[in-house]
């Protein structure tokens, strides 16, 4: 009986796992700096996007600052460092509003989040460098 129950739970979890994984995305706040001393934390937590960033941007260092996960369909207001990010909509039609210190900085709509394909909003002002918001749909 216990074996049957365990098998049932495992089977259910296996069925549900892909669905659960696909119903969310992550947002990471990243600081980009051109100068300053090397930090051992540079690039940590950004392994999946660091090559892309270095290919297109000249900033030497990228430091992970904060992150959060948003379930889809989204209707959330999140705080990442000094930024507030409002997300609404679904994977193929996401609206994102970015505020800094409560003041709207930008708003984007009809964003399509693809699995493991980053969508990055960069050039946002920060205390010591430029900030980036990295959106990544889960596979």
């Amino acid at each position: 009986m216990k074996t049957t129950l365990l098998a049932t739970i495992l089977f259910t979890a296996m069925l549900a796992a892909p669905c659960l994984a696909q119903s969310q995305f992550s947002i990471r706040l990243v600081e980009a700096r051109q100068s300053g001393g090397a930090d051992p934390q540079d690039g940590v937590g950004l392994e999946d996007v660091i090559d892309m960033l270095k290919r297109h941007l000249v900033s030497a260092r990228y430091r992970f600052v904060d992150s959060c996960t948003v379930k889809l369909p989204a209707d959330d207001t999140l705080t990442l460092g000094e930024y507030t990010v409002k997300c609404s909509g679904n994977r193929k039609n996401l609206s994102v509003t970015v505020l800094r210190f409560g003041k709207q900085v930008l708003k984007t709509a009809s964003v399509q989040l693809k699995d493991k394909k980053p969508f990055i909003i960069g050039g946002l002002p920060g205390k010591t460098g430029l900030m980036l918001l990295v959106f990544m749909g889960a596979d």
Binding site: S23, N90, I121
Partner: protein
């Protein structure tokens, strides 16, 4: 080189050996019965009696598994995945110089880079 035998020759060879080694039927069955008596044959072949409660539990567990799986898939089926409504739009409220959209071929990702926003100097872009 394979040696070929006719069917008659094969029968002759096998028949001779089989008749030489074939046991006596009476002796064989006598031995078989003696061996069979050593094993308790009473319960062999009887259907295993499963208590009603156990059968009910198994059935209930199976039903519950199906219901849970179906419910889980329904509740957590995730984003219904509406079709995209069109091109992405961007409205930069803060003062800025320009907006660059970079499509990365290898990762198939997109970078939207806002140049010269507010107090930040957008000197991080190469494009």
């Amino acid at each position: 080189m394979m040696k070929k035998f006719t069917s008659g020759r094969i029968k002759e060879l096998l028949g001779g050996r089989a008749s030489a080694q074939a046991p006596d039927a009476v002796e064989f069955w006598s031995d078989f019965r003696a061996r069979a008596k050593l094993v308790n044959q009473d319960r062999l072949g009887e259907p295993v009696a499963v208590p009603f409660a156990v059968r009910w539990r198994v059935a209930a567990t199976a039903c519950a598994a199906v219901v849970v799986a179906a419910g889980g898939l329904f509740l957590f089926r995730g984003d219904p995945g509406e079709e995209p409504t069109g091109q992405m739009t961007l409205d930069v409220t803060a003062a800025h110089s320009a907006v660059l959209v970079i499509e990365d071929e290898s990762s198939q990702g997109t970078i939207v880079w806002i140049v010269g926003m507010e107090d930040g100097e957008s000197n991080g872009d190469r494009a």
